[in-house]
């Protein structure tokens, strides 16, 4: 098959063609058919760095409350000290019930002199006077105290 072709192809091209074939064969024989994982590692590293940077480690109160509706609700700071006031008027912090007197200490402990904002997730059927007391106590330790509300309907 190649014999008649060779007559018409210039010598330089045939030479390079055969050299290429020889080289390909050499590479194929040494290659161990492994998947190239370098792009995978690159992507995983980028994802890893993204999650490390975005991690804030917020301690959640551990209960879900029925938030009140509000129209002026704005997105709050993500890295906050979160308290919850349940419908049975229990103050929850990091999964356990705390007393009203413990609130300033917990805010101080959690914000570690960084002045973290405080978010209070309040149930709409909770006692407003307890909410007012928590707000007043939290404000002693943090300048930014917010009450979580439902997301306003767009």
């Amino acid at each position: 098959m190649h014999q008649p072709l060779r007559k018409y192809i210039p010598a330089t091209i045939t030479q390079s063609y055969f050299q290429m074939r020889a080289r390909n064969r050499l590479i194929e024989s040494t290659d161990t058919d492994a998947i190239n994982v370098s792009p995978l590692i690159d992507v995983v590293f980028i994802l890893l760095i993204f999650f490390i940077v975005s991690a804030t480690f917020v301690t959640l109160p551990g209960i879900e409350v029925n938030r009140p509706q509000a129209v002026t609700g704005k997105a709050l700071e993500k890295n906050a000290v979160i308290f919850a006031l349940s419908g049975d008027n229990e103050i929850k912090y990091a999964g356990s019930t705390v007393q009203l007197e413990e609130v300033p200490g917990l805010v101080e402990q959690a914000s570690k002199d960084k002045g973290k904002p405080v978010v209070i997730q309040v149930d709409q059927w909770a006692d407003a006077s307890i909410l007012a007391k928590i707000v007043a106590l939290a404000r002693k330790k943090s300048s930014d105290v917010s009450i979580a509300t439902r997301k306003p309907r767009a």
Binding site: A22, R23, L26, T30, V37, L40, I41, V44, F45, L47, L48, F51, I52, S54, A55, T56, F57, V58, L60, P68, Q69, A70, V71, T72, G73, K74, A75, L76, K78, A80, I82, L85, V119, Q121, V122, D123, Q124, W125, A126, D127, A128, S129, I130, L131, A132, K133, V135, A136, R139, D144, V145, S146, I147, A148, T149, R150, K151, P152
Partner: protein
């Protein structure tokens, strides 16, 4: 010529598999640990004592008794009247709002009153508990 073409069969390569394993474990840990808390809420502006002393005007106060009603100056009002009341009272100068709550009042109502007052452009909104 031959040596240059053929790569050495015993090439020393770093085994990256343990590295990938470790990176994957770290990645999964950070994915799980990341809590995307997207909290929406109101931040009642409050004034410190220094600035409030310059403002001698009485704050507009709303009372929330334990009966669950909303009172303003002794009169029962509806939630939708809060914003117009604050707006008409602070037409010349922004005024602060005081929400006085009695034990037994609903936190949802108190929050909504503060929300409406902020909507009307109240300068500061304060929530204060009333001792029975």
């Amino acid at each position: 010529m031959r040596r240059r073409l053929s790569p050495e069969p015993e090439r020393t390569e770093i085994n990256v598999s343990p590295l990938i394993d470790l990176v994957f474990i770290l990645l999964i840990f950070f994915i799980v640990a990341t809590s995307f808390v997207n909290e929406v809420g109101i931040t009642p502006k409050h004034k410190d004592t220094a600035s409030s002393s310059s403002n001698l005007e009485e704050p507009i106060s709303f009372d929330l008794p334990s009966s669950g009603q909303l009172l303003q100056d002794g009169m029962v009002i509806g939630l939708e009247q809060v914003a117009p009341l604050v707006r008409s009272n602070s037409s010349d100068k922004p005024r602060s709002v005081l929400v006085r709550v009695s034990p037994g009042a609903r936190a949802g109502l108190a929050t909504q009153v503060m929300d409406q007052a902020m909507l009307a452009g109240a300068q500061a909104v304060k929530l204060s508990p009333l001792t029975p």
